[in-house]
């Protein structure tokens, strides 16, 4: 396999912004697995492939050249076309496109089912968050004097009561009940992936933050009993995971604060929406690329030392490092050190992974990871 002359190579790649880092594309072609897409003003879309030649460099390949450079699975060819037609290549847009393609069954029947289930779960999260925000708004804005519950939705009298209550509450902001409801619906649409505190359901991104923290704990336990150099590599992954989980928790707390003060949020609605959008976008970027890592480690038989070491090698290649400008000045030093450590400790990934051949077992493994990655925790 050769990379076209138009491909570029980055040494010690530490991106400045999330957009420069790119969003993970869940390709199933092994050599392209977990690579990232980004949009550059002059060059258009391009794919960043870490460790393509088994080394430490990140290769940048023009999006349009992909089919001529690699033998891609049909799933990936369709996904590439879909992403090309997207207005922007953010993690949320890529996820949506990926679910569309997966639901065709091109990555297997199990994957199609998982994608459809994930799309359904997204909808459920939106509905639940929306209903919670409505009930919470009524409770907070009436100082606890008024309450509505799911039972009210089941009969006409209850629905009339809800409408009457919403009209009263909406009046506080000089809004109609419909406009007031539309604001809450809009809010729910924005924050549904993380949900709101008090919701009796752990939404996707909140679960992911918990899973990243759990991943850090598990990997640390493993590295404590691993005597080879790979334990150092594992500790770098642990540190990156801990830092990411901590930053993501801070962001989530910021998002949750808006639900804790609904009067303030709704009074200064325009500013609140802008801030919530920015916080959610940052959170999505920050957590982008972590689900496959968590899944990869969960699926590794830690009793098999060789497999575990290979997994650590793969994870090092995929570690999402926080971009320079996205962290505060104090954290920049930590992330700078982590970025350096990552470059120093990268171990050679499994040969088959990067051989350029479409190894069907590796493709099936990636498809399985995708399906597992869509599963929500049992609640």
């Amino acid at each position: 396999m050769t990379v076209t002359a138009s491909a570029q190579k980055h040494d010690n790649f530490w991106p400045t912004t999330f957009e420069e880092r790119g969003a993970v594309v869940p390709f199933t072609t092994p050599v392209l697995a977990f690579s990232r897409v980004r949009s550059q003003e002059e060059r258009g879309l391009e794919l960043l492939v870490p460790g393509l030649a088994g080394g430490r460099d990140t290769y940048v390949i023009p999006w349009r050249s992909l089919p001529s450079v690699f033998v891609m699975t049909v799933h990936d060819r369709l996904l590439r076309e879909q992403i090309e037609g997207l207005p922007s290549s953010t993690p949320s847009e890529i996820r949506h496109a990926s679910l569309q393609v997966e639901s065709t069954g091109l990555a297997g029947g199990a994957n199609a089912q998982a994608a459809r289930q994930a799309a359904g779960d997204d909808e459920s999260e939106k509905l639940l968050t929306n209903f919670f925000l409505v009930t919470e708004a009524v409770r907070q804005l009436s100082n606890g004097k008024l309450q509505i519950g799911p039972a009210d939705l089941t009969h006409d009298a209850g629905r009339a009561r809800i409408k009457e209550i919403l009209t009263r509450v909406a009046g506080l902001f000089k809004l109609t009940a419909d406009d007031f409801y539309a604001r809450l619906e809009n809010w729910a649409g924005m924050v549904a992936p993380i949900g709101v505190p008090g919701l009796n359901y752990t939404c996707r991104l909140r679960q992911l933050i918990a899973d990243i923290a759990g991943y850090a704990d598990d990997l640390e336990t493993w590295s404590d009993r691993e005597l080879s150099d790979v334990s150092d590599s594992a500790r770098v992954c642990v540190q990156i995971a801990e830092e990411t989980a901590s930053s993501a928790r801070t962001l989530a707390t910021g998002i949750d604060r808006y639900a804790a003060d609904m009067r303030g949020t709704l009074t200064d609605w325009r500013t609140s929406v802008e801030r919530l959008e920015a916080l959610m976008a940052k959170l999505c970027w920050m957590l982008d690329g972590w689900r496959p890592i968590v899944t990869l480690w969960r699926e590794t038989d830690t009793g098999n030392r060789e497999a575990s070491q290979d997994a650590v090698g793969e994870m090092l290649r995929l570690m999402p490092i926080m971009p320079r400008r996205e962290v505060g000045s104090r954290a920049r030093r930590t992330w700078g050190d982590l970025s350096q450590s990552l470059q120093r400790t990268r171990v050679k990934a499994h040969e088959d992974w990067l051989s350029g051949k479409v190894d069907i077992e590796l493709v099936l493994r990636l498809e399985r990871f995708k399906a597992i990655g869509h599963e929500r925790a049992r609640r």
Binding site: R77, G108, G303, R305
Partner: protein, 480 residues
Amino acid sequence: MKERDDELTLIEKRLSKLSPSKFREIVGVLEESRSDFGGAGPVEALMSKMRPRLVRMKLARKLTLQRLFCRPFEELLTNDPEPRGVGTQVTRRSIEPCWKLVVDRADAKKLQRFAANLRVCSNDETRKIERIGRQLWAYAATVLRGALRSRGGLPDGALSGLSERAYRDILFIADYLEVADVLQELKRKLGRRPLRKATGEHIDAIIIALEAVNAVNREYQHIVIDVLLAWLKHPSDIVAIVDRIAVQAKAQIDEDSLALAGEALVEDVEEQLRAVTGFAARTSERADLVRGLRGCVRDVIGAHGAFQNRASTTAMRRLDRIRGKVAALVAEHVLKDADDRVLTALPRPPDRSATPDMPDVLPMVALEAPPDPAQVQAAEDQAIALRLCVKYAEELGLGPEFFDNVESLGRAIEDRSRWAAVRLDMAAMTPDRRDAAAAHFYVAIRVLELVAGSDRADNLRRQLMGRFMPAAEPVAPSAA
């Protein structure tokens, strides 16, 4: 007794909820209160309940005298009560009776002295521990040898209660312990398990070990081979290794040991084949069966290569027989009915030769309902099984038959899909029916990709799916 079991179960549940650090702490306290010489007290009962988590966490356990006793042959231990296959393995069930025999027959004061010396060692005092180990192994070998010495050909009372397996294992352990220090040194030089490739240094270390073992008893050469078989990533490498030793140090390896390596290898492949044959009878998942067969095929091919320089016609004949059986398994469980399993998920044009007036309506009506998930799964499974076999078809002597099958299957998938595509009246279809028809075509593309590769499948996608664009939104599952 039941009450105690209930309590233990309750404790087990609580233990599983503890944090790793707390769990580690409790293990430490329990280990401290255990008897040096094993037994079946409440601490042991509790430890047995904790074992699954102990294994998962792989905690560094406190080194007891019994654990030190087992250390030289720990790589040969297996949970299987009746281990068969490559090399000698010792079932864990034999440890308790063997250790009991040592404790019953040994000088108690001497054992207590070993235990006291071990207790004061910290885990990182490896040299000190190894020194105590060498003394213990040599002493235990003498004790076991004495216990096993039969009077008038019959074993004494303590041994007569042992199972056949335990008795054989104790005989093996007694032999092993006589050369334990040699094997510990060999293991150190071989490095971490598994050994991917034996270098010149490894061969030198093996020759040195054989020299030392020969000085004790030439019949113990098989123990070196047993250890090597446990160490190698690919047991089939053993034949090449003993061949190299025969060239470099012929005096150190007997003809019996050379033959043993080959025998052990063939036995291992036969054992694998037996397991896969049993699995084939139980499963309908063809891809999983091929995955099971893979190790077997790889070893047969590896063994063939290894035996090429040998004049062992028996071993070669056995290998050929194994290869024939593997090929028969593939023919019966992968190739047979392959077309039906894949094509059932796709629309079938009516057979004009049998019934010339048969209209196209029925197959096209079938496209209006979503594909049957069970049929899709069976088709995918079959296609994956075929794809996984590609690498081995030639080696198994199934080349032409296999590749003809794959080629005709690929053509049939393309023909059927194209036939259906030209008959679709898109304008007359509701969105639901269009989505259902598209889902059928995606199944065809997917199985074609698995059978014939991505390029050919993508060509079919371009031909079929242009009419369906844009791609369907993912549909949330219904409440049912």
